[in-house]
Symmetry: C2
Subunit: 406 residues, 2 copies
């Protein structure tokens, strides 16, 4: 297989790992590096101007989320926002309870937070999901106790793209709270890193208490995220030593990135409906062609309640890493699942949670589409990928045979 | 006082709060926003290229610090690095001790970390400083116990500019460890955020175990910092959920900012001697003229063992905030102390620690010089500032008189 001619153009299909920064976003950021660079906490004119730029960014984001500007906390990443939500609420409400519930397919930023909390004496329950990755509402409700302080369920899964019924869940938790003496707790957090740009982020409509959004998945810069936190909720900070972000996240305000994220979210929200429609069409075309041309291949996740940009399939007996490296030779960039654990060779916890067998789980590949993806790109992949899958399957069959002979 | 003509140009003298991003640094960063934007943890070609860019940045920084690349942890800020050092070591070595020592004039990022740790049951000792802000070595050594796991003393103070004898301190702690049965603990951390760009960051020469450096004080972008941590030292992460930074700091690698910080540190290190000499000359000229022309004014901090860019004076009976706002009208941007607590009106803990009286502490102003500062700028301030100080003193005297009459 020669890749000289084939890989002249790179076809990036890993938008769920990260997106390029939108040129308009970069343009909005540029003045804040070398010209309007002041510390937003400084009292002089340029410091106050920096503070105003951050206020404006906060308001712009609040407008998309339909919340108050002071309900937005700027952080350094989606991971940090997830950590702040889980650790921040659990520790702040420790005196009222030591129990946390998360779904079985959360991002590691949520999962590892609960592991930290377990070491601090907290108890963690894992809410199961169906084989399509959708959360089971009733079993989750049954896990609620009067010691539960936070429930965290991601809006859409980063690996298999399943969209969760967040509004329904939020309502069910509200009902449970009403039925249990109008309790204040638990609070409901959702990690919306993958949902942003495709689904509504209206926190009032969703009925949630906390929400994580990341800039680097919505064509904004890396290194900034937000946590929406409803007014009056207590939160113990994880980074301390300055009064920034209402004493909830210390450190010099990262003005360029903050302005960039606000711009990116505005653009993402404006183009959301159109882009979702366009990508859903491409996705469905891509999925049906793949399943039709690659023997034994299966789609993971719900076919309908699915992110418009997610295509995640498994092929038995072959290694996702091998597929990935072969595709890479042809200039096609995809992923085996989450970039955050790309070099971890254990089968993904998400695939295990939906009951996938290891032989399928290991042969998984995720294509995540984005603004730059065209039908021409997809057709190119459809030309290249099936023969690769066939070849890898043949090698695998041969290896199995050879082993059997010994 | 009219400021129309006067304030046509802004004279920024708040480089200790933050610096503009060097145009060369910004140029180095730009490709990583919209072109080479991949997730550095992705396995495909562009992901691996991103990983290589980060490795290169890590090596470049390690070269300046004279350490191994794997001893560099990228974080989101100097504050986060300080937090990670203090919380990370204290928590990781909890089974071996519950005692921490910091100096009385640490940055809030260190101070607040110890307050968090106190709530977790740790004991914190505060090492006193002399009236010039220099640490007293003997009293610090007397605080050491076989329960001490970390000592943190900043390399140079952000408010009054005093440079600490880090090498001497490190040696003394090493001696103490030898004399106490060749103990492994305590580890020695220094916050070098203000020192970087002026003083040597050679960690072997300094003899330290951990060091914090911030990008936004050395003409690099905001939103990235590093923690140097000697090999084999355990550290409990504060942001979890991904395998980045050897499992010590989760979250998508912020490639543009990381590349920018490395470039900024290289430039700062190269220009260090020349720029320190140039600014020390300007600083000394500025200080002597100020003290000579403003009655009762005093210089805070050590006059010799002092950051080349720091001028921090106090004038009794007038408010630093008033000076700052008056200067601002004339286009001169300075600070009352730390930007991180600019809106906190209590007298600075640093000034209290050096034994400054409240009447002097309240009338403090910090001018911090930088690459853009010229003698013309300083002469302009020397023309504007003394009359302002005189006018404010007169108003203050009048107010006192009026109060006395009542």
């Amino acid at each position: 297989m020669s890749n000289t001619a084939e890989s002249a153009k790179t076809i990036y299909l890993d938008y769920a790992a990260t997106t390029p920064t939108d040129p308009g976003v970069l343009k909005a950021m540029l003045p804040y590096f070398s010209s309007d660079y002041s510390n937003a906490s400084s009292m002089h004119s340029s410091g106050r101007r920096a503070g105003q730029a951050i206020s404006q960014a906060r308001s712009d984001i609040a407008a998309v989320l339909n919340c108050a500007p002071q309900e937005i906390i700027f952080t350094g990443s989606g991971t940090e926002s997830d950590n702040l939500a889980l650790l921040g609420i659990a520790r702040a409400y420790r005196s009222q309870g030591d129990h946390i519930i998360i779904s079985a397919i959360e991002h590691k930023a949520v999962m590892e937070s609960t592991k930290l909390l377990e070491r601090e004496g907290f108890k963690v329950s894992i809410a199961p999901v169906r084989t399509d990755g959708c959360i089971k509402v009733e079993p989750l409700l049954e896990l609620l106790t009067n010691k539960t302080t936070i429930v965290s369920v991601m809006y859409a899964n980063n690996e298999i793209g399943t969209i969760q019924p967040i509004q329904e869940l939020a309502l069910a938790i509200q009902e449970w709270k009403k039925d249990n003496g109008n309790r204040e707790l638990p609070f409901f957090h959702t990690d919306a890193c993958q949902a942003a740009g495709f689904l509504s982020l209206d926190v009032r409509e969703l009925g949630i208490d906390l929400m994580t959004v990341n800039s680097s998945k919505i064509y904004g810069p890396k290194g900034v995220g937000i946590l929406f936190k409803k007014k009056n909720l207590k939160l113990q900070p994880i980074i301390v030593g300055g009064e920034q972000e209402s004493n909830l996240r210390a450190g010099t305000e990262n003005i360029a990135l903050i302005v960039g994220m606000a711009e990116a979210l505005k653009i993402a929200d404006e183009s959301r409906h159109k882009e979702s429609k366009r990508l859903s069409g491409l996705r469905d075309y891509f999925i049906s062609k793949l399943l039709a041309t690659i023997p034994l291949s299966i789609l993971n996740g719900n076919r309908v309640s699915r992110l418009p940009n997610n295509v995640h399939i498994s092929i038995p007996h072959i290694e996702g890493e091998s597929i990935l490296l072969m595709l890479d030779k042809f200039g096609i960039e995809a992923s085996t699942g989450s970039a955050c654990s790309a070099y971890d060779l254990r089968p993904s916890h998400v695939l295990m949670a939906i009951g996938q067998t290891p032989e399928f789980a290991h042969g998984s590949i995720r294509f995540s589409l984005g603004r730059g993806t065209t039908k021409v790109d997809i057709d190119y992949v459809l030309k290249i990928f099936p023969p690769i899958a066939q070849r890898l399957s043949a090698i695998s069959a041969l290896t199995v045979k050879t082993h059997e002979k010994k």
